[in-house]
């Protein structure tokens, strides 16, 4: 993981990171001078086994900046013809946690895609979805608020942003994820097996919320394993719903 390797780089140049948080300033918080920043650049190249422009490291203000810079840099590739697997590898590098769940649905891929695409119909077919407010929709990008029935019978409002580009993927992210997450994104992948059979894949990507000034995943006792269980169960619940609806022939 990027964070652990970064801490290793700091350790290499004998910078004390006992109380470090993502928001810690390299200069004011860790007391680093310009020489130490240069040494950090070398240590990062050594620990990560990469070559990276020094100004990218020298311009970093906080520990989080370094994580962000390295997340992007580690996924750099001169070959622009990436496969879906390579793109997923990038996301796995950029996020602390991720999961994947798969399901076979015995219906054509275009039907599965249509069901996931037409979010205004979700209220009709998905019992836990009580309302969809579409804030923006230009046919390619969408922003909407989904009102869902939570396990304690309260209504949870989830704002999502999606990209629907008629490929076999629907990408989304939540600009306001649950409090225990700093970041949450995901995607649906719809693969043709046969003319009447489709593989539906749900992926979730996340970073835990470790910000000092908010309710953190630590405060709530949330771990990566717990997040994987919560999101994984939700993904399976959603896919089982769609399988039942589509194979039951009720979707119009």
């Amino acid at each position: 993981m990027i964070k652990l390797k970064l801490l290793e780089a700091f350790d290499k140049i004998k910078i004390d990171t006992v109380d470090i948080t993502n928001g810690t300033s390299l200069v004011d918080g860790l007391g680093m001078d310009s020489q130490e920043l240069i040494e950090l650049h070398c240590a990062i190249e050594s620990v990560f086994g990469i070559t990276i422009q020094s100004d990218l490291i020298l311009e970093a203000q906080t520990f989080q900046n370094l994580i962000d810079i390295l997340s992007i840099h580690l996924s750099s590739c001169n070959d622009t013809s990436q496969t879906v697997q390579e793109e997923n590898n990038q996301k796995q590098i950029g996020y602390e946690g991720w999961l994947e769940r798969k399901m076979i649905i015995n219906r054509p891929a275009q039907e599965v895609y249509k069901a996931l695409h037409c979010l205004t119909k979700w209220v009709t077919y998905l019992p836990h979805v009580k309302k969809i407010e579409v804030l923006y929709d230009d046919g390619l990008y969408q922003e909407f608020i989904m009102h869902v029935l939570s396990t304690d019978d309260s209504i949870l409002k989830v704002r999502s942003v999606r990209k629907i580009d008629a490929s076999n993927q629907i990408r989304y992210f939540q600009p306001e994820p649950p409090k225990f997450l700093k970041h949450h994104a995901g995607e649906w992948e719809i693969n043709v097996i046969t003319s009447e059979q489709t593989e539906l894949i749900a992926r979730h990507f996340w970073n835990l919320n470790n910000d000092e000034d908010s309710i953190t995943s630590c405060t709530l006792g949330i771990t990566h394993d717990r997040v994987e269980k919560i999101l994984g169960d939700h993904a399976l619940f959603a896919m089982e719903n769609w399988k039942s609806i589509l194979e039951g022939g009720v979707y119009q």
Binding site: I52, Q53, L56, D68, I69, S71, I72, H73, S75, S76, C77, N78, T80, Q82, E87, Q90, K91, G94, Y95, L135, Y136, D138, L140, Y141, E143, V161, K163, R171, F173, P175, E176, K182, H183, A185, F205, N207
Partner: protein, 151 residues
């Protein structure tokens, strides 16, 4: 309507991408960018608001971006500019040794056929000119030639 402009930048791909990705660099390279707020950024998705100087009044640009590191940044404005129904686009990054070709595309739709006395083709021409100007500013910033086109 669609427009497309491009520029070649002599720098490493990761550096070029970083400048387009990080709004702090936008403030340094585009003098009409006054301020920005980044509400969400996970390295692949962003929600932002940017304030840009315009002749009549400052304009707030609210939007989302889908980012594929070192490959593409897509953008759409959740609140399009006044008189526009849609404003979206992307930057694609193509690397060739030490040069990066940045291709910028914009897709827009007007609410009416005329805007401030200009027809759609004139607006398209103006937007294309503005798009190229911005690309040139990024090029100069990245290559180290600080020329302020907006003075």
């Amino acid at each position: 309507m669609k427009i497309e402009k491009s520029v070649n930048i002599s720098a490493r791909l990761a550096r070029v991408y970083q400048v387009f990705y990080d709004f702090e660099h936008w403030k340094k390279s585009l003098s009409d960018v006054l301020d920005y707020n980044l509400y969400y950024d996970d390295g692949f998705h962003q929600e932002f608001c940017m304030v840009v100087a315009r002749p009549e009044r400052d304009e707030k640009i609210k939007g989302m971006r889908f980012c594929e590191p070192n490959k593409r940044i897509e953008i759409f404005q959740t609140i399009p500019p006044p008189q526009f129904k849609i404003m979206s686009g992307c930057w694609d990054f193509f690397c060739d040794e030490n040069t990066v070709l940045v291709v910028a595309r914009r897709n827009f739709e007007l609410k009416n056929s005329m805007l401030n006395g200009l027809d759609a083709e004139s607006i398209k021409k103006n937007l294309a000119m503005y798009l190229q100007k911005n690309l040139n500013c990024f090029k100069n910033y990245i290559e180290g030639h600080y020329v302020n086109y907006y003075q």
